[in-house]
């Protein structure tokens, strides 16, 4: 199956004639039947060529790994927010994916206008924070720029109701990061981590630092930063004891497949190089109910 897909993908690239000089990606994801497949991008909304190149790479990868949705980790639209800018920074770069039925689920970053939540293609349904479910995975998109008590109370209620599903939270500011520019958001961590632990959140995605980083499990939770899908701070990753893997040489995006109790991931650079991959196995899920 993999070989066939790879062949189809390669032919597609050849026939398309757009990117012959770029190497085809190797697929490190298992493509299991019935799995939940998605991509994660962060700090992408520049409207600059690099964002478009990452988007093009995502499209190519999508032919090999047909992810059905994309989670956006904030800073979706930098700078001006006029309609033409929103098109330039979202609609146009991801047009082929959108046309192909791929859905985008945005979290707000510090460069975003909270009114982005009213744009249907970002699937926020008018909310700053929201949750949705795909297969056996429950996603929680948070607004980490403004974590007010109402949002915290909502999150606890939602996490408690998620039962034994995989619980994946995503938001803009990383709780753990080896990025030199911002580093870990320690105050947010103090607030959110106890809740993540109490209700068994397994994986957290964030952006803000314009690099890719996978953190060694912290108290059993896996943290990823993918903040280089448009912006980049080359050489900004100061690998620390926290770092399991990282990449700061070029833009990147992350792809994820969840099947049963396994979560497979593959981070890919703008030029199609796999910069990280692996699998997370979750221990037997324990249901925690609300207090």
């Amino acid at each position: 199956m993999h070989s066939l897909r790879r062949l189809i993908f390669t032919l597609g690239v050849l026939l398309g004639g757009q990117t012959l000089s770029l190497p085809a990606q190797e697929l490190a994801l298992p493509l299991k039947s019935g799995s939940v497949r998605f991509a994660a991008i962060g700090d992408m909304g520049t409207g600059e060529p690099a964002q478009y190149e990452v988007a093009q790479r995502m499209l190519q990868f999508h032919q090999m790994f047909p992810f059905t949705f994309v989670i956006m980790l904030g800073d979706n639209i930098y700078g001006a927010k006029s309609p033409d800018q929103l098109q330039k920074k979202f609609d146009i770069p991801y047009k082929s994916l959108l046309d192909g039925g791929v859905q985008f689920y945005a979290a707000l970053g510090n460069h975003d206008d909270t009114n982005e939540r009213f744009y249907k293609l970002l699937n926020m349904n008018g909310e700053r924070y929201y949750s949705f479910k795909k297969g056996n995975v429950h996603f929680f998109a948070l607004d980490s720029t403004y974590l007010d008590p109402q949002q915290f109370a909502w999150l606890e209620k939602e996490l408690a109701a998620a039962g034994t599903d995989w619980k994946i939270c995503y938001f803009h500011h990383p709780l753990y990061s080896s990025g030199a520019f911002h580093g870990s958001s320690t105050e947010l961590r103090t607030v959110l981590e106890p809740l993540f632990l109490k209700y068994g959140v397994q994986v957290v995605f964030a952006g803000h630092e314009h690099v890719y980083e996978r953190i060694k499990p912290q108290k059993g939770i896996y943290y990823f930063t993918e903040g280089a899908s448009g912006e980049l701070r080359a050489g900004n990753l100061r690998k620390t004891d926290l770092t399991a893997a990282g990449y700061d040489k070029d833009r990147s995006f992350l792809t994820v497949e969840v099947s049963g109790d396994d979560l497979y991931f593959q981070a890919i650079s703008r030029t199609g190089v796999t910069v990280d991959s692996g699998v997370i196995h979750r221990p037997a899920a324990v249901q925690v109910s609300a207090p």
Partner: protein, 183 residues
């Protein structure tokens, strides 16, 4: 809601976080001071005023979002003609806000949150003026938010340089602000 807030406070203290080691200087769930009640009443009055105006809704048309935001901002300006700094953050409310802000900002982790949020500097604010759309939003520390009066969904506290701002998030309009509230 109060019990949820109490839980968050417990989490903050219990996790060995910001408030660990010493009791919080501003008890977050203490009875609301009179100055905050006055502030909350004025926020409510603002909301009543705004109730008559059309609400945002989801759409596939980006022009519609922008047009509605501009129309909403203009309508609010017209309803609040003559609004000035201090109308909602009254003198006594400002004093209470300053006390809480400065107490909370004594903690390094809280100041760090603001620094990491790419703080905006040198922005001249006016009541009824637009919050510039190209500028980022500085993270408002959750430890601070929990100690301040809760706001309805369409209104948010913002930190802009040294100023503490009340923003209408749908209209992206400055409702009021306390100049120089942050060190």
């Amino acid at each position: 809601m109060l019990s949820r807030i109490a839980l968050l406070v417990t989490v903050l203290v219990g996790a060995g976080g910001i408030a660990a080691g010493s009791p919080p200087q501003t008890p977050p769930v203490a009875a609301e001071p009179q100055a905050f009640r006055e502030f909350t009443e004025r926020v409510r009055a603002y909301l009543n005023l705004r109730k008559k105006l059309p609400k945002e809704r989801t759409t596939k048309r980006t022009e519609e979002i922008a047009d509605r935001r501009l129309a909403l901002a203009q309508a609010i300006r017209e309803l609040r003609t003559g609004a000035k700094q201090g109308d909602i953050f009254t003198a006594s409310a400002s004093e209470e806000f300053l006390r809480v802000i400065r107490n909370t900002l004594q903690k390094n982790a809280v100041r760090r949150t603001i620094r990491q949020g790419e703080p905006v500097a040198n922005l001249h604010l006016t009541v009824n003026g637009a919050y510039p759309e190209h500028l980022p939003l500085t993270t408002v520390p959750p430890t601070l938010l929990i100690r301040l009066p809760q706001l309805p969904e369409r209104i948010a506290y913002r930190i802009v340089g040294h100023d503490f701002v009340l923003e209408d998030t749908e209209a992206r309009l400055v409702i009021d602000f306390i100049p120089g509230a942050l060190p």
